[in-house]
């Protein structure tokens, strides 16, 4: 008989002494051993891609001359749209995103042709030599313009509740205004990249830095005119994703695949940072016009919101993004009478895409802005207005009809108010601001309530594949991708816990489309919810087989069979897991299973604009304190306290990492990160030299994150809650604290408009508006 492998040693450095597992790649990260796609060995005949980019925002192409490009040393192949063997459309959901432009371009940076050369440098130098003549058309560059011109990528959707017209008319106070919220560059540290290697059957294997390998696979097959089964996509890890590699990564995979199959050689398409910042979509800008009616206490009676997303030139994922902005325009607050309309504005700019929060932040900031303004109007602390309007018993139905079934939000806000010493600090700040001529402090507590589930119902499914090998080692594959969030670690923990075995026995590897097919993107914070549940299902299948075998083999009751603490219990006897697995194998028990999960209970009736789009909500709140130099508008965030709801945490260390990272990313969006476009539609913030994400110096020393300890009331995986996106919106507390500091200039009689992001310039002019208001009154 062939020898079966021995039990392996569990001495690998994967957990801190007695603590939770660290990120499965932590040691590989710090030693530089973790392999990203650009680190894979290159073939001697590997080619590198660069694309020729449109220099006009909206134009017909009159002529293209690529002779000099083709003649450039190192150039092996040059393709235009007609060279694509299959379909040219690489849209994720709808249509309009073309792999290469035809005779028409609709944003600056759009790829018109692609070059494959022996080096990236040669390819980049060659593309500059193209001669392209355009006939320009008028361009729409702002969402307000697209609204005025009624140019939309998709139809408008409206959510209504109560009788907003009469409630508004009878409200004692109303505020009517608008706010522009700029988008955000993902700035994942690893830029977009794919490598395509043709196989012997005319198909192709693609290594993609993608949150959605199944979609890359589908689209590669589409552009090549091949069955999906001929394409294999693999993603081991991304150097950050944040939504930017949900739909955007497919273009690189498709381009590399077309050139690889044409030239019968491996092709790498890695976007240098500038191309990435110009050619790939970002967080949507939004222009939100609003009117709210409220009473003397600051209770909201009516709300009318018109939210216009700057979708860019195509639909991409914008339907879901604008929907989610609408679903979160209430944030944590009850709106008894509301009309919320979401417009999908078409602009001649790069098609905006998913970004952590997926539209949600643009709704939440609107809600929080409204609260700050109401608080000043009724002369109350904003926190009291928040608590008054917060969803609670009797005020528990969202404008789209979903009920808030628990009291997590008010409990959590109250707990944070106490633990952060909010009231005492408020008094101290008032005293400070009175005494200080040049410096003003600001304080804000803002909550977030974030709906968990894809709003596209069909995406709420997960798949997994679990193998147990004869030495007792376990291998888990699932449809989710690892972008740093720790998904692989959490799913491995789930598998270990479900089996009852040591975590060290569970091995993770790359996400591959031939292991788990048709997987959903790793997005909507749902990675662990969907894939963890699918893995649990697979483990339970195998465990049932093992139990049946034990019952038959040992003649015990099924209730006498258990696996716990890495031991198999067979009535009075125990056996090591590897020993028992070997025995099961010898007795021909199947030791591999798939697992599947679909989220229950959800459904949204788009026609009625009512339903339950979300299985549950993840909640949290943050208190931020800032200090502003009134002479310049410069500021520092001096303290942040966060209390966040992750249900029963699967890995508190990873969850806290997600909360802190998301908070700082949200803070960056609303402070130093400012996208800028010129009047021609060209993005002028095209490099980290002019687009500034936070550094370590922007993070306050007093930065406390605690987890709200309460199990999920819904049956999620081990009663945990999704964590990826919700805490990003806690960064809004920094923006509100700055707004509070600005309002202090006029003693909070008025909440002056504050741009988003609140750069020092924006804060300076907001303070000036407060001063002007004050002077006009005195």
């Amino acid at each position: 008989m062939r020898k079966l492998p021995q039990d392996f040693s569990v001495d690998r450095q994967r957990t801190k002494k007695g603590n939770l597992p660290m990120h499965e790649s932590a040691v590989k990260h710090v030693t530089g051993q973790a392999v990203y796609i650009d680190d894979m060995p290159e073939w001697p005949n590997e080619l590198h891609v660069a694309t020729g980019k449109a220099t006009q925002a909206h134009a017909d192409i009159v002529s293209i001359n690529l002779d000099k490009v083709r003649a450039y040393p190192g150039v092996v192949d040059v393709i235009v749209q007609s060279d694509i063997p299959g379909e040219v459309d690489v849209s994720p959901v709808l249509s309009g995103d073309l792999l290469l432009a035809g005779n028409f371009v609709h944003y600056i940076g759009q790829a018109i042709f692609a070059v494959a050369a022996t080096s990236l440098r040669a390819a980049k130098q060659a593309v500059e030599l193209a001669e392209i003549v355009y006939q320009t058309r008028e361009a729409t560059l702002l969402p307000q313009q697209s609204l005025a011109r009624q140019e939309f990528v998709l139809p408008t959707h409206t959510i209504q509740s109560g009788d907003v017209k009469s409630a508004m008319a009878s409200a004692p106070h109303t505020i009517r205004s608008d706010m522009y919220i700029k988008g955000q560059e993902h700035f994942y540290l690893e830029g977009q990249i794919s490598v395509a290697v043709p196989n012997e059957d005319g198909g192709v294997q693609v290594f993609a830095s993608s949150q959605h390998p199944a979609e890359v696979q589908k689209l590669v097959a589409r552009v090549l005119g091949l069955p999906v089964a001929q394409v294999l996509v693999e993603t081991r890890r991304m150097g950050g994703g944040f939504g930017g590699k949900e739909s955007q990564a497919a273009v690189l995979g498709c381009m590399a695949a077309v050139l690889a199959v044409r030239n019968r050689c491996p092709v790498k398409y890695r976007m240098p940072r500038q191309d990435d910042m110009v050619q790939t979509g970002k967080r949507h800008d939004f222009w939100n016009a609003y009117q709210v009616g409220f009473n003397e206490a600051g209770e909201i009676l009516a709300a009318e919101y018109d939210m216009v997303g700057k979708c860019g030139c195509t639909a991409d994922l914008s339907d879901g993004v604008v929907d989610r902005a609408m679903f979160h325009a209430d944030n944590a607050y009850y709106l008894p009478n509301a009309r919320i309309s979401g417009y999908r504005g078409k602009t001649h700019t790069v098609s905006n895409t998913a970004f952590r929060g997926f539209g949600g932040p643009k709704g939440v900031i609107l809600a929080e802005n409204v609260i700050e303004e109401i608080a000043c109007a009724v002369g109350k602390d904003a926190l009291d207005v928040r608590k008054l309007n917060c969803y609670q018993a009797g005020k528990d139905t969202t404008p789209y009809g979903q009920k808030i079934n628990d009291d997590v939000l008010p409990t959590l806000i109250e707990a944070l108010e106490i633990s952060s010493d909010y009231r005492a600090r408020r008094h101290a700040i008032q005293a400070f601001n009175k005494r200080n001529a040049f410096l003003k402090k600001g304080l804000a507590l803002t909550p977030v309530k974030f709906g968990i589930s894809f709003t596209s119902k069909h995406l709420n499914q997960g798949g997994a594949l679990v193998h147990v090998y004869t030495d007792g080692s376990v291998h888990i594959s699932h449809g989710g991708t690892e972008m740093g969030q720790g998904l692989f670690t959490k799913v491995a923990q789930i598998v270990a816990k479900a089996f009852g075995i040591d975590y060290q026995r569970v091995n993770v590897s790359a996400t591959r489309t031939d292991k788990v097919p048709n997987a959903s993107p790793t997005a909507a914070s749902a990675g662990t919810d969907l894939n963890g549940m699918a893995a649990l299902d697979a483990v339970q299948t195998i465990k049932t087989r093992l139990c049946d075998f034990a019952v038959e083999h040992y003649g015990i009751e099924s209730s006498d069979f258990a696996i716990s603490d890495d031991l198999v219990h067979l009535g009075a006897e125990t056996m090591s897991f590897p020993e028992f697995i070997k025995l099961a194998y010898m007795n021909r028990v199947s030791l591999s299973s798939t697992g599947f999960y679909k989220t229950p209970k959800i459904g949204y009736d788009r026609k009625a604009a009512k339903g339950r789009p979300f299985l549950y909500y993840s909640n949290g709140a943050a208190v931020s304190e800032v200090i502003v130099d009134t002479l310049t508008g410069e500021y520092k965030v001096t303290q942040v306290d966060i209390l966040h709801d992750v249900g029963d945490s699967i890995n508190a260390e990873l969850d806290i990492g997600q909360i802190e990272g998301a908070f700082v990313q949200g803070m960056g969006w609303l402070t130093s990160e400012e996208l800028s476009w010129d009047e021609k539609g060209r993005i002028t913030t095209n490099s980290p030299a002019n687009y500034k994400i936070p550094t370590s110096a922007d993070v306050p020393e007093k930065f406390t994150v605690r987890l709200f300890e309460r199990a999920n009331s819904e049956e999620s995986i081990y009663r945990s809650k999704a964590v990826g996106e919700p805490p990003l919106m806690l960064g809004i507390s920094v923006w509100c604290a700055l707004k509070d500091a600005c309002a202090s200039v006029c003693n909070h009689q008025y909440s002056p408009p504050l741009a988003a992001p609140a750069t020092p310039e924006a804060v300076f002019y907001s303070m000036k508006a407060a001063r002007d208001y004050q002077e006009a009154r005195s």
């Binding site: 450095q13 660290m22 990120h23 932590a26 040691v27 990260h29 710090v30 030693t31 530089g32 051993q33 650009d38 680190d39 980049k124 993902h186 700035f187 994942y188 540290l189 690893e190 890890r237 150097g239 950050g240 994703g241 940072r273 500038q274 005494r435 200080n436 001529a437 040049f438 410096l439 740093g484 969030q485 720790g486 130099d629 002479l631 310049t632 410069e634 520092k636 001096t638 806290i656 990492g657 802190e660 990272g661 700082v664 990313q665 130093s672 002028t684 913030t685 490099s687 980290p688 030299a689 500034k692 994400i693 936070p694 550094t695 370590s696 110096a697 922007d698 993070v699 310039e761 300076f764």
Partner: protein
């Protein structure tokens, strides 16, 4: 060209002049731990250590390998992440990052490891504790998009408490010292002018003049922190590069009689260290310029000769009436005032074959009240929207001389002459004079709008920063924020100061 890469002595004479250290490691050596995040020196994913012998001591500092020509590292020890963990033992920086969950996606992590390892070396060498400010300074050029930095800072703070069994400190490695010694000796006997080269590292002015005569088209490079962007962002290939960083006459800072002489090849870091105990306001400004990695490479001469209107040192030099010493390939030396140096956008008085040797500042003027204010969107590693350098000479409660110099307000670094004239001879606390000077600023400055700031904000800042400077000469320093935390003690400034509001 020879250098020590980790534990391997390397000789490679086949490289293009502009071939970066990052490409060398990844493409020629298969050392894939060092990442390209931006190829512009902004993200730090490519951070490496360079070790050099200085009077027998081995000192390491960080640099951005993505914009550093590998040939500029000749004779030095280059350390990548692969070298730090040996025989399965992690370096304290690595172990601390693991224990504090300091990595998520991991792409930026090797860069952070090297920045923290550099801090560890430095602090162990001078036996100083590691505090939060020093950690943030060390990683000021490292961007992380996942963690929010808290665990990375905590890791940095705990490095000295880590027990990893990691025995040898980098700077104590005698074998490395010996190798670098040998490399230095072999370099000095090698008559580098006998063989054609594309990257030249002259050691003194005579050699530089000789080199410049042999390669008249050779491009001058110092730190390369701006020049190399031509190569990595615009894909321009350089032919011959002449590196000024080792020309002895162009190095160092020294006092000479009543003057302070700053060599053009002095790095920002060197000036920062020099000014720490002598000129706190210059020190503070340097902390706001670029990142630690860039300050370790970028030079004062480069910042001035580059003639960017948003450079931060030209306003400082204008405020001190600095003189510039120039030399050319004929060996001619001349002096020129900084006030005459800038001609127009990116245009200077430098002739085709001329370069800056040094700057001379008067110690008397350095003793005057001076302040520098830099406004940008981000505290660390950001380009100024507006920068003001101001100097007041006062006597008997009267302003006897004043310099008001701005960056970011015109096509060149610029003085506000009318405002200066209005304040000169005024009583120190004459607020009316200040207000009139501010009115002068509004007339004489016409800044542009761009992605960093609007024209109106720039002008408003020019006025308010001048007010800040005026408050300072009136003993009311208004706090200027930096990358460091805000301590309660500095917040008392401006208290009860309603009179000036």
């Amino acid at each position: 060209m020879k250098f020590l890469l980790n534990d391997q002595c390397i000789e490679d004479n086949s490289l293009p002049s502009d071939f970066t250290a990052l490409r060398y490691l990844r493409e020629k050596r298969g050392l894939m731990g060092t990442k390209e995040g931006c190829a512009s020196g902004d993200c730090g994913a490519c951070t490496l250590l360079v070790g050099e012998l200085n009077e027998g001591e081995l000192r390491y500092s960080t640099f951005n390998s993505c914009i550093t020509p590998v040939q500029s590292l000749a004779g030095k020890h280059v350390v990548s992440v692969e070298y730090l963990s040996q025989a399965e033992k992690l370096h304290p920086a690595q172990q601390a990052l693991v224990e504090h969950h300091g990595s998520q996606c991991g792409f930026c992590t090797p860069g952070f490891v090297l920045s923290l390892a550099s801090l560890y070396e430095e602090k162990q060498t001078c036996q100083q504790p590691i505090d939060r400010a020093s950690v943030c300074d060390a990683i000021s050029g490292n961007l992380c998009r996942c963690t929010g930095y808290r665990p990375i800072i905590d890791a940095g703070l705990s490095m000295t408490e880590i027990e990893t069994g990691y025995v040898e400190r980098l700077s104590k490695n005698d074998k490395v010292k010996q190798t670098l010694d040998e490399l230095q000796c072999s370099a000095s006997v090698d008559d580098y002018l006998s063989k054609p080269k594309n990257y030249l590292l002259p050691q003194d002015l005579d050699q530089l003049i000789a080199v410049k005569n042999i390669y008249p088209d050779g491009i001058l490079i110092a730190g390369g922190t701006d020049l190399m962007l031509e190569n990595t962002q615009r894909y321009h290939d350089f032919d011959t590069l002449i590196d000024l960083s080792q020309v002895s006459e162009m190095q160092g800072i020294r006092e000479d009689g009543a003057r302070l002489i700053i060599g053009a090849s002095t790095t920002y870091s060197e000036l920062e260290a020099y000014s720490a105990s002598r000129y706190p306001h210059i020190y503070h400004l340097l902390g706001r310029i670029a990142s630690c990695q860039i300050r370790n490479r970028g030079t004062i001469g480069g910042n001035v000769a580059n003639a960017s209107p948003i450079a931060d040192l030209p306003p400082l030099l204008l405020a001190f009436d600095a003189d510039i010493q120039l030399a050319d390939s004929h060996g001619t030396l001349r002096n020129i005032s900084i006030h005459d140096f800038y001609q127009g956008y990116k245009q200077t008085q430098l002739k085709q074959d001329e370069w800056i040797v040094s700057f001379t500042l008067s110690l008397d003027k350095l003793a005057h009240c001076h302040r520098f204010y830099k406004v940008s969107k981000r505290m660390e590693d950001d380009i100024s929207s507006v920068m003001l350098a101001v100097r007041f000479a006062t006597e008997d409660h009267q302003i006897t001389d004043v310099r008001i110099a701005f960056g970011g307000m015109a096509a060149t670094p610029i003085r506000a002459l009318q405002a200066e004239a209005r304040l000169c001879s005024a009583e120190v606390d004459d607020e009316r004079a200040l207000l009139e000077a501010i009115e002068c600023l509004k007339k004489e400055l016409t800044p542009l709008s761009d992605m960093r700031a609007s024209a109106s904000y720039r002008l408003d800042m020019a006025c308010n920063l001048l007010r800040k400077g005026w408050l300072a000469v009136n003993q009311t320093d208004v706090v200027s924020f930096s990358g460091h935390g805000v301590s309660e003690s500095i917040l008392t400034s401006g208290m009860e100061g309603e009179a000036h509001a």
